[in-house]
């Protein structure tokens, strides 16, 4: 019954570290910068520098590498798949031949590049979610999006929806598991039968799940209204975000390293 137990993406782990104390906006922007750079960099030295930078960031966060690597596991398949596709489909100098498949020097090169990029992409987003609480994350996103309010993008509402969704993911998972167990206790079988049968078998899970979720949404809406929630206009925050000197230093170092990694071509 270990259906949902291995999901660690989006998991926040509290530690008393410099990285945890950084302003969420700084961390979000950092991740965006890293991702942009990853796709611009075109040399192994550049990748090495970024890798080293990520390694330092994760160490500073005092989060065990185990957690970070866990996030990569489910995507290992996609990474290896991309790697193989590139090996065999890129035209260029043939260095090895299996039956009708040709492995080219360019293919190896490109495949490895893409894999490393995906790997860094996951590393950096895990780094963000592991060290930033969902609340801080949505606060940060709201603030970052607030300039869009001018063109009527409802930044606050988007952030509120994200907060609620994030808040209810664990609840829904717990509930799904409970419902699955309860239906198994009534003899339900989720493992055998053909496709149609299997889809039918999921109705006893999906229907109660939806009914309960709607009830919960209803309750939540009433509870919010009872406390006079009226959207973002003029709303203040209990926790004020503030950028201080550590944030400045961090972003400057980050920018410096990323620019170096991009420009460094040996």
């Amino acid at each position: 019954m270990m259906f949902f137990r291995n999901i660690t993406i989006g998991q926040y782990i509290y530690r008393d570290s410099i990285i945890h104390k950084l302003d969420p906006r700084v961390k979000i922007i950092t991740v965006i910068l890293i991702i942009t750079t990853i796709f611009l960099v075109n040399s192994w030295t550049g990748f090495f520098i970024i890798g080293f930078y990520l390694f330092i960031n994760i160490s500073l966060a005092k989060v065990h590498p185990k957690f970070v690597l866990k996030g990569i596991k489910p995507l290992l398949f996609i990474i290896s798949f991309t790697l193989l596709i590139h090996f065999f489909t890129t035209p260029g100098d043939i260095i090895y031949r299996i039956w009708i498949l040709n492995i080219t020097r360019e293919g190896i090169h490109r495949g490895l590049f893409i894999s490393v990029r995906l790997f860094y992409l996951i590393l950096s987003t895990s780094w963000l979610t592991l060290t930033t609480s969902p609340i801080a994350l949505t606060d940060g996103i709201e603030k970052l999006l607030s300039f869009l309010k001018i063109i009527r993008v409802p930044a606050h509402e988007i952030a509120m929806m994200m907060t609620i969704a994030l808040r209810f993911i664990p609840t829904l998972m717990e509930e799904t598991e409970k419902i699955i167990k309860a239906q198994i206790a009534r003899g339900a079988d989720f493992e055998s039968g053909n496709l149609v049968k299997r889809i039918q078998n999921f109705l006893p899970i999906i229907i109660p799940l939806f009914i309960n979720a709607f009830h919960r949404a209803d309750d939540l809406a009433i509870a919010m209204e009872a406390r006079c929630y009226r959207g973002g206009e003029g709303r203040t925050h209990y926790r004020q975000l503030s950028i201080n000197s550590i944030d400045h230093v961090f972003i400057i170092i980050t920018l410096f390293i990323l620019i170096v990694s991009y420009l460094w071509v040996v």
Binding site: M1, R5, K178, A182, Q183, A185, G187, D189, P204, P208
Partner: protein, 287 residues
Amino acid sequence: MFIHLKDVSYTYNLNMPFETVALKGINLKVNRGEFIGIIGHTGCGKTTLLQLLNGLIEPTKGQIFIENIDIHKNKKKLKEIRKKIGLSFQYPENQFFEENIFKEIAFGPKNMGVAEEQLVQSVKKSLQMVDMDYQSFKDRSPFSLSGGEMRRVAIASILAIDPEVIILDEPTASLDPQSCSKLLSVIVDLYQKYHKTIIMVSHNMEIMAKLARRIIVMEKGEIIMDDTPRNIFQKSIDRLEDIGLSLPQVTYTMYKLKKIGKPVSSGILTVEEAKEEILKLVNENKK
């Protein structure tokens, strides 16, 4: 002996950063015809224990025998186990999904391979066991019922599998007093009239003192007491107080009387017994 847990431990998310030890070193034997009450604080592992009893989760250590067969040695047998041991989760009405009560209750037996012709019989019988009328309820939506009725239909949906053992996780949780006593009389019937073995979790000590023949007290994933209600509420009052569990009110009152030196016997479980004792005390004083 029917169910036997041998040195069973269970840890959620084993080897993961958030692992929780829910049960450790549980030894438990359950015979046919027992009425067992399980008490303990929230989070002490009661629900986990119940799930182990019918093979929904596999112990991380130790073995579970049902009729002397290690149930996790042969996974194909698990469905048979669940047919013998019915488990009704807390708030079982949250698992309703069918359009009418007939289909809802027939879900279990259908899964267990009961033939179509016999489903009517099976649904009828289980509704009768929870004291509900087949004709007037069978076509109604399970979602249209009152809280107490929903609970009874949910229990009927377990009874329809015709299990020998009924496990109930906090069956009276958040019911109004009337529905609660109705449900309790149903449970008493299951035990006395239909000869089911009952294992039940409840926070209500009055209920436990009155109904259960054997009480298991759990704390922090361990069984710390396992005895008759009388013995538990007689000998272990201080221990129960220490871990913050309440006593039935009459038991507590009599206990306090005894503590201030009145010659009453301890371990009183019901109001009737208390009445006798107090009358005796009053008469004594008159003399």
